[in-house]
């Protein structure tokens, strides 16, 4: 085990290396640039390739090409680059190409503030391309160590589900410095609860089964199996078609291979939710760390509050919202994104509230004031872009 002090960007790099990544294509962008820089240094050392692309469209397409040829591939960007992935992301989802996409969220829209954290791409990570008819897998680390393990897991899920997996981080996670333990042997990897599987190769000409099966090796070109894949709606052989029947089968596969194996994906942490708390705070990424501190402190003061910290964001873990209570979604945006899913998922009779900050974390004191107010029904004075009752 190698113990070090480093950033989330370094942790993601090392996680990718451990997971067997052999190709990184990216375009420099704050706050994900260091992932590209680290990859340019680390990949050649282990026989891998770094490609600095002419734009983000190229970056993800190069990754798709590499994965189509059998290499594990990853790219990393921030919001302004993530929107350019809309074009290739459809290709990767539709053709079931395993790869990993990191988005270090910053304040938006557009260029926004380059060095401040945001959480504006929650929905964009669910619908990162046009056309619908698919599910995405999105993971959200909240620490440097978890950025490492999430990256290893993202490669594992990408391979099993044969699809792109998105890591939705934020600037505080990717730029933040924390202690980091990197396993060096297969035993140490296993002891950390991490799994690595090799890049698999499809044998035989069929492109997909019209079922929800997972663990089917993806299409790999160059082995003379007659493999075919494209951006068009495919037949099970991978041929292009205009027949709607095949669209039904393809859509079923892209949606239900994920939904029907949700238990392999869903990850979360819960704090004080077993004794029917009156108020449950919900967050993901870096704000979840303030939320957990605030809830622990409030419990010490006798307030009956709990917290849910989402690690997997999509498919959305509706089933973990079991308690009928007041809910407070704490997010790094002002428009409220996660809150809408919480509102949809909670049991009848629950109330759902939203607290948004952007570019900086909420403070424990702010959250305490909010918890007090929500528990007592007291009206609070707040700037209207930060606080909204739903």
């Amino acid at each position: 085990m190698r113990k070090t002090l480093d950033t989330g960007n370094a942790a993601i790099t090392e996680g990718a290396i451990i997971a067997g990544c052999k190709l990184f294509a990216g375009y420099p962008i704050t706050p994900a640039t260091e992932i590209a820089e680290n990859m340019s240094r680390r990949l050649p050392q282990i026989g891998g390739y770094y490609v600095q692309a002419e734009d983000e469209l190229t970056a993800l397409h190069v990754c798709i090409g590499g994965s189509l040829g059998g290499l594990k591939a990853m790219t990393a960007t921030s919001g302004p680059g993530f929107i350019l992935y809309a074009d290739p992301m459809g290709w990767a989802l539709g053709s079931e190409i395993p790869l990993v996409v990191v988005n270090a969220q910053r304040v938006g829209p557009v260029s926004g503030i380059t060095g401040a954290p945001g959480q504006g791409e929650f929905y964009l990570s669910r619908y990162p391309t046009q056309g619908g008819n698919y599910e995405t897998i999105v993971l959200a680390p909240n620490s440097v160590q978890e950025a490492f393990s999430t990256t290893v897991e993202a490669f594992y899920l990408a391979e099993r589900f044969r699809m792109p997996v998105i890591i939705l981080a934020d600037q505080l996670v990717t730029d933040g410095w924390e202690s980091l333990s990197i396993p060096e042997t297969p035993e140490e990897i296993e002891a950390m609860g991490l799994k690595v599987i090799p890049r698999r190769i499809k044998e035989g000409p069929e492109f997909y089964p019209a079922t929800d099966e997972i663990d089917i090796p993806p299409v790999v070109l160059g082995h003379n199996t007659g493999a075919a894949c494209s951006d068009w709606t495919p037949t099970p052989e991978g041929y292009d078609t205009e027949e709607v029947d095949f669209q039904h089968k393809h859509a079923y596969r892209l949606i239900y291979k994920v939904r029907n194996h949700k238990d392999l994906i869903t990850r979360y942490e819960s704090y004080f939710v077993d004794d029917n708390p009156e108020l449950v705070l919900v967050a993901y990424g870096s704000p979840s760390r303030v939320v957990i501190s605030a809830v622990k402190q409030a419990r010490e003061q006798g307030l009956k509050v709990g917290a849910l910290r989402l690690i997997s964001l999509w498919p959305f873990p509706d089933e973990i919202f079991k308690v009928q209570a007041k809910y407070l979604s704490v997010e790094l945006n002002y428009d409220g994104q996660l809150v809408r899913e919480i509102q949809r998922a909670v049991p009848k009779g629950s109330e759902v509230h939203f607290f948004g900050k952007c570019g900086e974390l909420p403070t424990v004191a702010e959250l305490e004031e909010l918890m007090q107010a929500l528990l007592t029904g007291k009206e609070i004075q707040a700037r209207n872009w930060e606080w909204e009752a739903w």
């Binding site: 734009d55 040829g69 591939a73 290739p88 003379n224 494209s230």
Partner: protein, 278 residues
Amino acid sequence: MDYLATKYLRPRKIPSTACSGCGLGQVHKKVVKAIDELGLEIGDVVWGTGIGCAGRQTFNTWKGDNFAGTHGRVYAITTGLRLALPPDKKIILTVGDGDAFGIGFLHLLNCARRNVDMTVIVCDNLGYQSTGGQYGWTTPRGIHTDSSPYGNYENNWTSEGRDVLNILREAGATFLARHTSLQGQEAVESIKKAILNRGFSLVHMPYPCVTNFADRALGSRKPLVIYKWFEEHTCGLKDKGPDDFAFRTGIYYDASNTRPEFSEYIRNFVAEVQRRYN
């Protein structure tokens, strides 16, 4: 084509769904003929296409492995694929003029700069014909199309002293040629040279579109009319051509195997880093 078709192509795409009189089949045949004359087997080639007329008609016609990318992106996909595949595997791309010289031009230029080993056959029907006949980046000035109803007023990549092949040469391409689909064995020979070049090769192949281009530009859907127009507007690279518009044909630039190829270079570079630092 029958012998070649049986040997190399999937029966499901024969006959093609291209419009009657379309010249794309002539281009397609020349590419397959070049592959055959080089003695390549099905497993030696991965075939890529884009969308539009050229993409749709040539996707998955190849019996071996093949893929199609979204509009203009197939060169970027190929850059990644090139790194993953063994160096002796040929990657041949049949794309359209919009794909190569419009939406995908940035990727194309960067692939030429990197000298990524791929053979790009630009099947050029002088505009966007699969979407109904809009002007493109090789449509001659003044030509009437669905999106230039008063005549095309845009400068394009292949006239008034401009030649898109100049740009690609400056960018670093190592083999460049142009032939119309009406030309014979000389076109096949150029495609063979393009395939044999370990580096970025492009063969620009204008071909007649009877259904849209000929109808709007020449006022006739009789194949003979556009085939004649093609012949009248074809000349050698250095010949004096017609005043208004010319397809300048021949081998434009042959620097085959003189520049390091991208994937070969990066593989050697990585090996050197491993030797020095590990």
